[in-house]
């Protein structure tokens, strides 16, 4: 199955949804990067933590109605762990509590570039969520037999034509892949470059998926406690100086 997920004709770039297969238990919609034609994937062979092509996805909508978001950026105290969840929740029409974030572990996340920039980072995750939302609407339209224009979504439940279905039910028993168009180059070590790394900007999501109008915002603009704070007040948060690796005797940051 392949479907355009943007309805408007004003964007030449669209995301692509494929069903990789059916599964007996669980199910999920995986959202990942569609690299431009001619994109160098040499980094994929290097198996380093800077490799952007290894991570499975930016976002997963799971059959238990949880949503996992992966970002290479870290919570450095600016509240990103709160406002990323808020921005994604807004576009997906779910509560921010439904979203868990995996941040900064670039062995498991896409390359996010440097951990700065509310505006660029927010714009990226917002677009990822918007593409995903359009895909979920498309799936719901098929399941419910109601056109997308006749659907409404409240806290992850899609309703239309007197019927309703949750995001989790939409992906139940399936393994769906949504490819999001991006531009950018993977970061890679380069001893000559500034701080020894090139392409620190990470990837930028392209295209213009329909975004929720500000007038309809329910989550952004309301108070949402920063999810990273409880671990900081109990001493559980790990800083880079707290990381130990198997067999490690001593380590020094360079």
């Amino acid at each position: 199955m392949s479907a355009k997920t943007t309805e408007s004709n004003d964007s030449p770039i669209t995301s692509t949804l494929t069903r990789r297969g059916f599964v007996k238990i669980g199910g999920a919609l995986f959202v990942s990067l569609a690299f431009p034609a001619g994109f160098s994937v040499k980094a994929a062979e290097s198996q380093t933590s800077l490799d952007p092509t290894l991570p499975a996805s930016w976002l997963e909508v799971r059959s238990d109605n949880t949503i996992l978001v992966r970002t290479g950026r870290t919570e450095t105290g600016t509240g990103m762990s709160g406002y990323y969840a808020q921005a994604i929740a807004e576009e997906l029409n779910v509560r921010p509590e439904a979203i868990s974030l995996l941040m900064g572990d670039t062995d498991k996340t896409p390359d996010g570039g440097y951990s700065a920039g509310f505006l660029t980072g927010m714009s990226n995750v917002r677009k990822v969520a918007a593409y995903t939302y359009q895909t979920l609407l498309g799936l719901a339209a098929t399941q419910l037999g109601v056109p997308v224009s006749g659907l409404t979504v409240t806290e992850g439940i899609v309703s239309g034509g007197g019927k309703s279905i949750s995001y989790g039910q939409l992906v139940q028993g399936q393994h769906l892949d949504l490819k999001i168009p991006v531009t950018g180059q993977p970061a890679k070590a380069d001893p000559v470059a500034w701080v020894g790394i090139t392409s620190l900007d990470g990837f930028t999501v392209t295209g213009d998926p329909p975004l929720k109008p500000v007038s309809q915002y329910k989550v952004i603009g309301t108070s949402y406690p920063v999810p990273s704070i409880p671990d900081k007040v109990t001493g559980k948060t790990q800083w880079s100086c707290d990381v130990t690796l198997l067999g490690m005797l001593h380590a020094r940051m360079v």
Binding site: G77, V226, I229, K232, V233, T234, G235, T237, W239, C241
Partner: protein, 180 residues
């Protein structure tokens, strides 16, 4: 040379093999894996490493481990147990509770990067144990003028800290009134 020292940390006994002049902070972090106390300046000038020794704040980065022998060491990880003990809670309940200072730090959303906040909460716990109802001036005084140095926060969370200390003071007072 390394010899065996017995420490009482967060209510548990630990035997460590460390040279007596090893900084307490290194023993807590590297031997006992208590990473709440943090290495900031390493010269007792920032407060990130603060722990309680028999209820008194010390800077663990310059305190020899031998000085902690025979005293009760409390790190940020152990603050819930301090409160649980005062409340007479069981060990199981203690593991599920937070010290009112920690809860106030969440409620006031104090931490930004959070690196200094372990020391800030240790200082707050010490202050409130000695002065259950401090004024804003007394809070500022405790965090800035108490030797050996002010507690520093480069994120600039100072006003939130003052609010959180006052919130914790109210919560502790209310809790004690309920108990009595």
């Amino acid at each position: 040379m390394a010899n065996e020292l017995t420490l009482s940390v967060n209510g548990s006994k630990h035997v460590v093999a460390s040279a007596p002049d090893t900084p307490l902070l290194f023993v807590l972090r590297n031997e006992l894996r208590l990473t709440g106390p943090r290495l900031g300046c390493g010269m007792a000038q920032c407060g990130a490493c603060a722990v309680l020794l028999d209820g008194e704040e010390v800077r663990a980065c310059i305190t020899p481990v031998s000085y902690a022998v025979g005293k009760r060491v409390t790190t940020i990880e152990g603050l819930p147990y301090v409160w649980a003990e005062e409340k007479g809670l069981s060990a199981d309940d203690a593991a599920k509770t937070l010290h009112p200072v920690q809860q106030a730090w969440i409620d006031e959303q104090v931490p930004q990067c959070g690196y200094c906040q372990s020391g800030m909460m240790i200082a707050a716990a010490e202050l409130l144990a000695k002065n259950p109802n401090p004024t804003v001036a007394q809070i500022k005084d405790a965090f800035t003028n108490k030797p050996p140095s002010p507690h520093l926060c480069r994120c600039g969370t100072y006003t939130a800290i003052i609010d959180a200390v006052q919130r914790a003071a109210k919560a502790m007072k209310a809790s004690r009134e309920r108990m009595s």
